[in-house]
Amino acid sequence: MNKVKQKDLILYSSLIILGLAAPYLFSAFKVQLTYLCVLIVLAMTWNLQGGEMGYNTFGNILFYGLGMYLTASVQVGMFFPLAEWTESGGEKTFVHTAAQYFQGIGVGLLVSAIIPAIVAGAIGYAILGLRGHYFAICTLGLGIAAGEIAGGIEIIGAGQGFTTPPFPAEIVDTEARGKFFYFLSFALLIGTFVFVKYIYGSRFKLILNAIRDNEDKAEAMGIQTMKYKITGWMCSAFFCGLAGGIMGGLIGYIDSTDVAFDGREMGVFMVLMAILGGKGTLWGPVIGATLFHFFKEGLWTLILGWQYVALGVLIVVIVIYFPEGLMGWLREKYPERFGEVIDEKDRKAQVELK
């Protein structure tokens, strides 16, 4: 046992060192690295529902968008009248000092973690009774509806969009902004990973799996499935909200349907990444998100105009050849490396049966 721990320690510490050194090693890629951290967080949290609990949600984008608007609103609203900031036309110019900016984003992120979690609890209470496709379709509606509603609320900019506070001008270093958002998202990534890893070692994960495998049986065994389903969703919402808050600050401009409640891109990507890597595994979403991001950044611009066709092909390839994701494929190919013992006789017997 101790030996295994030591190996893990080496792996984790080298990854953390790599993560900390990355913005200095690849200075020009800070923004992409920040995106990568956020994508991994989204894929990991989606995996809690889609992978572990068996509830394919398209609604996590709701919490992401909510977090984005909340962080920006708090950051502005703490120091200036929000309505005047977002007023279409925006005749007045307000400038955050460095202290205001960082205080604002700090409090904003706190709010953007808590409120989406509460919203997830409330919505979850209402709709987590649905199962299978019904749940998926219902959550799909959530994201779309949220986008349209946000597009009509004047105080957050409505259709004009919401320009988030610019990085304080007192900080002359042009690299500072990139570093700030990178380390923020990296911290979030570590937090999420530690949390999810903790869940993987807990009874909670087994309950989620029980719900996935047979919800009625789980209930019959005395598990209050609703309670656990809601808790699971609230955990995801907590981290999605934070991810959204960070992205809002990084992008600098929030549009209701294209940036915040971006179900067409982010909402689909998080599902795709988790499935690509292998849902229901700890490392799957991490690997999936990383591969996906590299694929996207590397190839996207080489095939201008055809990128979505390529994405479509990628989805088809994943579903046909790696239905269980990369981790699932590896596990099938090299089960012994995952600590699974295979009885050769038994395996052969099964093959013959077929």
Binding site: L25, A28, V31, I251, G252, D255, W283, I287, G305, Y308
Partner: protein, 413 residues
């Protein structure tokens, strides 16, 4: 270490190596080329206008290069543009701007298509002090943020249809009119709406329908049903190319009678070609029209530009292409006056720009918007089945009289 972990570490180190070897970015001026960068909507909801923009850029690059290029410190340089596709998505646009600047080493930017995307890119160019000449971001809020490196060759969006309201009031004997309006939920159209609100206040007009339409505008039947019921004097619609097409399609299908129809993006949507007589009498705001009498030495007159453009790309240039071409002329002029590739020197030269192009006069106001060029209005008019856009306002360039009111559908053949 177990094998999975090993695999993972190998994977990570491979990526690390790949990235390190890739980081060597190239410079803003390479050999005889001045490299400009632009994120353009080649796919997504703005793709048709994105292509108009790109064609405009390409046309000007080719022309300037052919006619000797840009002379800086006695040496001739040529323009070259690196394009990325922003997928009509602000998030992607901001990311690509960062990529152009940090990875491709671009020091001068050309704008994207649409106000929303320009809003997303401007904070990035501003942060890195990269001069950006943009030709397709008209939202007024772009020019009130105190941006120092943003220059727009076009007039702000709130001016688009203000003139139309003035015209309607004039036709109504100076009395206020009843306005019905429907605008897409996007930065540009909402700014056009603000212009109308101002004009309504000024002229004592009343707004009786004020609808917001979704993006990806494919249906506005609900608004039109209301219009049929309350009979306004003016109907104003703005929603980029799709908005213009949808409006004409449904107005003609539902036979909505309204004395005056004011829109944006009629020329980009090729309304007169696509809908022919159905689009007749639509009044459209435009930044430019080929009949205007401006001139420059690269493209000659507007008419010549239109002819060359038609030859090159096979369609009549909408103003989106013309203004995009003008952006390159502005850059060339600024480089030559700065006589340097120093970004701040180029920026200072841009501030002092005062020139005439085939597209119009260009002089930047303190916020970066072009203050030397008025908006124009044209009306779609048909002879038989042949429809074309004729300038009706301002009077200086008007080739035709403004036709008012629009005949009822029952009286139209």
């Amino acid at each position: 270490m177990n094998k999975i972990a090993k695999l993972f570490v190998t994977f990570i180190s491979a990526i690390t190596l790949a990235l390190v070897s890739f980081t060597s970015s190239f410079a803003k001026v390479e050999g005889e080329y001045i490299v400009l960068g632009s994120a353009i909507s080649l796919t997504g909801k703005y793709s048709s206008n994105g292509v108009h923009t790109q064609n405009g850029y390409n046309m000007a690059v080719e022309r300037i290069n052919k006619m000797g290029g840009v002379e800086v410190q006695g040496k001739k340089y040529k323009f070259e543009i690196i394009y990325y596709d922003d997928e009509s998505n602000p998030k992607r646009a901001a990311q690509l701007a960062e990529r152009l600047i940090k990875q491709d080493g671009v020091h001068y930017m050309l704008g994207p298509y649409s106000s929303g995307l320009t809003k997303a890119i401007a904070p990035v160019t501003e942060k890195y002090k990269i001069p950006m000449v943009e030709a397709n971001g008209a939202s007024r809020s772009l020019f009130t943020k105190g941006y120092k490196y943003l220059f727009a060759v076009l007039s702000p969006a709130n001016q688009y249809l203000e003139v139309a309201i003035d015209l309607a009031v004039e036709k109504n004997g100076g009395k206020g009119v009843k306005i019905a309006q429907a605008f897409e939920q996007d930065a540009f159209s909402q700014d056009v709406r603000l212009g109308i609100l101002d004009a309504a206040k000024r002229t004592g007009s009343e707004i009786i329908i004020d609808d917001k339409l979704p993006k990806e505008l494919n249906d506005m039947a609900a608004t039109l049903a209301k219009v049929k019921a309350v009979k306004p004097d003016v109907l104003v619609v703005s929603g980029h190319t799709k908005g213009a097409l949808t409006a004409i399609r449904q107005i003609s299908e539902m036979k909505v009678d309204v004395p005056m129809l004011a829109m944006t993006h009629c020329d980009a949507a090729k309304l007169s070609k696509q809908h022919g007589k159905k689009s007749e009498f639509a009044l459209c705001a435009s930044q430019w029209h080929k009949n205007l009498s401006y001139k420059d030495k690269f493209f000659g007159s507007g008419k010549k530009y239109a002819k060359d453009f038609q030859k090159e790309f096979g369609y009549d240039p909408p103003y989106q292409s013309a203004e995009s071409s003008a952006a390159l002329l502005v850059f060339k002029d600024a480089f030559e006056r700065a006589n340097s590739f120093d970004r701040d020197a180029v920026r200072d030269a841009l501030v002092d720009t005062e020139m005439q192009t085939f597209y119009g006069n260009i002089k930047f106001g303190p916020g970066g918007q072009n203050v030397a060029k008025p908006m124009i209005l044209f009306q779609v008019r048909c002879k038989g089945d042949d429809c074309e856009n004729r300038v009706v306002a301002p009077t200086k360039w008007a080739s035709d009289k403004f036709y008012h009111p629009i005949p009822k559908w029952s009286e139209r053949s």
